[in-house]
Symmetry: C3
Subunit: 305 residues, 3 copies
Amino acid sequence: MAAATVTLARRIARSGVLFPRSSPQVWGQASRQPPGLLSTQHRAFSNKKILVELDTSSGVATMKFKSPPVNSLSLDFLTEFCISLEKLENDRACRGLIITSTIPRVFSSGLDIMEMCGKSTEHYAEFWRAVQEMWLRLYGSNMVTVAAINGSSPAGGCLIALSCDYRIMVENPKYVIGLNEAQLGIVAPFWFKDTFVNAVGHRVAERSLQLGLLHSVPEAHQIGLVDEVVPEEKLQDKAVAVVAQWLALPDHARQLTKSMMRKAVLDHMLAHREEDIQNFVNFISKDSIQKSLSMYMEMLKKKKS
Amino acid sequence: MAAATVTLARRIARSGVLFPRSSPQVWGQASRQPPGLLSTQHRAFSNKKILVELDTSSGVATMKFKSPPVNSLSLDFLTEFCISLEKLENDRACRGLIITSTIPRVFSSGLDIMEMCGKSTEHYAEFWRAVQEMWLRLYGSNMVTVAAINGSSPAGGCLIALSCDYRIMVENPKYVIGLNEAQLGIVAPFWFKDTFVNAVGHRVAERSLQLGLLHSVPEAHQIGLVDEVVPEEKLQDKAVAVVAQWLALPDHARQLTKSMMRKAVLDHMLAHREEDIQNFVNFISKDSIQKSLSMYMEMLKKKKS
Amino acid sequence: MAAATVTLARRIARSGVLFPRSSPQVWGQASRQPPGLLSTQHRAFSNKKILVELDTSSGVATMKFKSPPVNSLSLDFLTEFCISLEKLENDRACRGLIITSTIPRVFSSGLDIMEMCGKSTEHYAEFWRAVQEMWLRLYGSNMVTVAAINGSSPAGGCLIALSCDYRIMVENPKYVIGLNEAQLGIVAPFWFKDTFVNAVGHRVAERSLQLGLLHSVPEAHQIGLVDEVVPEEKLQDKAVAVVAQWLALPDHARQLTKSMMRKAVLDHMLAHREEDIQNFVNFISKDSIQKSLSMYMEMLKKKKS
């Protein structure tokens, strides 16, 4: 993961984030002060695309995606996401994380197609490494992670939800969730697939991935893609209650158990990480793929206007 | 797979099929002509045991098993099956395949016990290689494959259904489906088991295989062994609709996704193919097994008369 | 498994059990006499903690845990259990096994915490090897094994049930079952996890293990942790009927099928057995773990008084 760290560090420097890895983590340090010294029980931390709020009394942080129009996972978004995850992971005051969206009707639209279209192979490689890094940090997080899915969540958005410990989705006939890569003429990488299979089993995954299905909320619930469905107004309370339930367990035992359950899939990806980047770069650089992504983007633009 | 190809080529020559691999594929070539040059939208291709019809307008072929009394998988049947699969696979006009039966009340009764009883070890080996070849081609097919199961489907018949992308079964209280090898005193090979586990999960497979269960249609539906149940008169339309749904996806993305889902199980078999043949030959040659198969055949004969 | 055998033999000698492995197995020999020579159809065999009854007419043995107060799996209990399993396994008159409890409201409370608290590392190692041995024998048994769960069954008690071929539980709102190790601040070993995943699938296992859930009977049924739920008075008859159903299959085919289904998980443990013992010893010897187990024992004592 050395290369990834270098890349992230470079991006941190580039994006002007305040807390690079090598310098003192001001925010992290604060959390290690005795509770009595803290002026408030809440600390907030906002970058451009994600708002992070930490309730130090409960030890639960909330990440709010706020990147219009659809919280797409651009390289900038992913970089912010990884940095925020790393900061929370290293912050002893933080034990749980709720991920949600401030954008109406969308949790996250998935990978930003702009990053995969008409760019250099170096850019594709850097982008893909950031996607991997996000998943590695979230799927392997020591924190209790709950996805509070308050909008549609296709492709990479679905992956974020799948990488959490628990998924709560708002009941709304317009919301959908799934790994719909095949619909765009591309293929979900093997570790998206592994994460999906771990949640819904082999048979459901086989059909859903081949058809690139976007499941309605009741269907997602029925196949086990989400764990619970609630009305919008109860989402936040439910997410807080679920995190509290999981935090009632001794951290160490829970973390070791989580690692035991997810290690095989994480290790498999790490063992093939560079190969996976190369595969992505080769695939996305193909004329046919570039053409079909361009057409898809045109279609999206027309839809808007 | 060289040995398998040689065996198949030899059998092709023996069975007098018109299109051996090394000579021009007349039927296949036709399909590469511009659509306008084709005199009809339908082409049919019939061997002794399987009728193949291709609708070139939709790109969907239908294979109809027509080998009385019960579509048992003899060496001749398997050879025809493999040849037909290979021809369709190589035919660009064909993207989807529906498999069904013309024999009342039976989809396929599974491996032909006659091929496993009182024959030479060479014959057992050739037979087993043909069973493997059939599964390798069907489970790994690039086509969209739908089993339209219009009758009972034990053992090898169930394997054919399991190897398709989607299974639709006719609702009929007399029809059953399952891997019932244990009932006959034999053991489903590991790749039958892997295919079964991929469809229904480990626990259901463990019980069903140990008890050699033949499931009723509602039960098969409930455990996920079949995906959908329809009245007989709606089977054909439903199968056509399902293939159309799957063909709406870009071929390349769908095929790569399918390969990703099935590769581990296919590779596992290929890595142990010769060993698996040897195991089968050793097992089936045992006096105790020969005796129990003979008794089973006697029982079947008495049932008939 | 040489070391394990030595350990078991030593314990057999120590516990004064009548039939050590190296001397003639009196009980086993009897079963190899022609049926006509047997004076009765029932033979019973009682150690201190487990009563074993064999119905030679049906070939079904029943093991009744009778170790007050809660059938906890002490080293003595495990040793008796392994010896009884070995004897039944080697007895041709015995083909099926029902495991149940004579203690009201408890099937088995799991590993005896006394064995893990304030003892030597040698003791921890011997204890853990006995836990492994029990699972290896039960999960890999050639007999048809049915758990007749007539009480709560946490942790190691749940493992015993999971290692059988079929689980029937008494419907009682007070009974619970699950791998609740995480609640005690410890971690279920990987082969507990593998056994659990084989029964309920990855997703259910991930949540249940991380939360250390003890499931109610309906919930256990719904997630597939138990196969069937019956009123207390029907438990025995149901267990007998289930064993009979499984014994109707040819032994050889059923046993090979069972082995095929469970081999991967058994082999995985065997390949890491010594490492697993070392991990357990290191983990359990930690001050923090010793402290939390002591506190848990104190709590249990207070509960009683």
